[in-house]
């Protein structure tokens, strides 16, 4: 009997989740391992959905760009809660929602606490810049940076801010002494 009850509670949860996704106009949500294959699948899914919509090509391309960079950030940089999880690969949450004025691409992943001050500093710096400032920073980083062992060029967040044309919104939720959950939202204004 209690087993049956649990099942009903779960069904109710599924329905609540459906409703809240509808209310928040969430088109896509995923939690799990983020690999190149997953990145390709999501971007082509988003591309197909956007192609069906009336959205302008410019906005569609921007959403695509921002998604790729966000997903590749997770697949290169996400940390894990436990060592067992570490072996399962890079994990994170990905959400795409469309509001009246903008598309929002939200990603979340575990990050080691000692990486936060550096990351926060560079995000604050990026958010302090205007279009020209972002373009200059991008050029400097491209000239001076090099491709890391992880295959990144240190350009992801600058590019996201540049392409989206909006400030990056982010938060760090402390989980324990070792790690936090890093959430980032990028908004692409609809034209």
């Amino acid at each position: 009997m209690s087993d049956n009850n649990e099942k009903h509670v779960f069904l109710d949860f599924a329905y609540q989740m459906y409703k809240s996704m509808k209310t928040n106009e969430i088109n896509l949500v995923y939690e799990g391992e983020v690999t190149q294959e997953i990145t390709k699948t999501f971007t082509s899914l988003t591309e197909r959905n956007l192609a069906k919509s009336e959205e302008s090509n410019t906005v569609q391309r921007k959403v695509f760009n921002v998604m790729v960079e966000c997903l590749q950030n997770i697949s290169k940089h996400a940390d894990s809660l436990t060592d067992e999880e570490e072996e399962e690969g890079k994990r994170g949450i990905v959400m795409v929602s469309n509001g009246v004025d903008s598309y929002n691409v939200t990603t979340g992943n575990i990050i080691k606490n000692d990486k936060i001050p550096g990351l926060e500093k560079s995000l604050e710096h990026i958010n302090s810049l205007d279009k020209k400032g972002l373009s200059d920073l991008y050029k400097t980083q491209m000239k001076e940076g090099r491709i890391s062992d992880k295959g990144g060029a240190g350009l992801g967040f600058i590019d996201i801010a540049k392409k989206s044309g909006n400030k990056l919104t982010y938060q760090f939720k402390k989980l324990n002494e070792e790690v936090s959950f890093f959430i980032l939202t990028s908004s692409i204004t609809r034209v």
């Binding site: 410019t58 391309r61 960079e69 590749q72 491209m142 090099r146 990144g152 060029a153």
Partner: protein, 126 residues
């Protein structure tokens, strides 16, 4: 010189490097998982080409999308051609972009700011 002709995929571009036919082109999408691995043979080929380049090189970029890691490699490619140009060879970059894609035009202009090679911008529509 050997001809490089790599067909494009969902996440890697179509690359043609053909000295004999004077055809140099990177087109499509570039978001490979490992940019260094994908572009290494291309950069090596250009190093070889730099030793005995054609009098005039028109390098075509016709990219629909490239990720940030690829953008760094594209700069490396352009810097190699800048060197070729510095050795009294004609080098022109033909930068194609979709008319609705200002970001792609801006990306070309950013490269043109960094490297001393003439850029021609060519817009296309669907």
């Amino acid at each position: 010189m050997e001809v490089i002709n790599i067909p494009g995929t969902d996440d890697t571009p179509n690359v043609i490097l053909d000295k004999g036919n004077n055809k140099f082109e990177i087109s499509g999408r570039s978001l490979p998982e490992d940019v260094n691995m994908f572009y290494e043979p291309i950069l090596n080929w250009i190093d070889g080409y730099a030793e005995d380049p054609n009098a005039k090189t028109e390098f075509v970029f016709n990219l629909e999308y490239f990720n940030t890691a690829s953008s760094k490699i594209i700069l490396d490619i352009l810097l190699k051609f800048e060197e070729i140009a510095e050795n009294d060879n004609d080098v022109v970059i033909k930068w194609h972009y979709h008319a609705e894609e200002e970001d792609m035009l801006e990306a070309g202009e950013e490269y043109a700011d960094i490297v001393e090679i003439p850029f021609e911008y060519i817009s296309y529509t669907d």
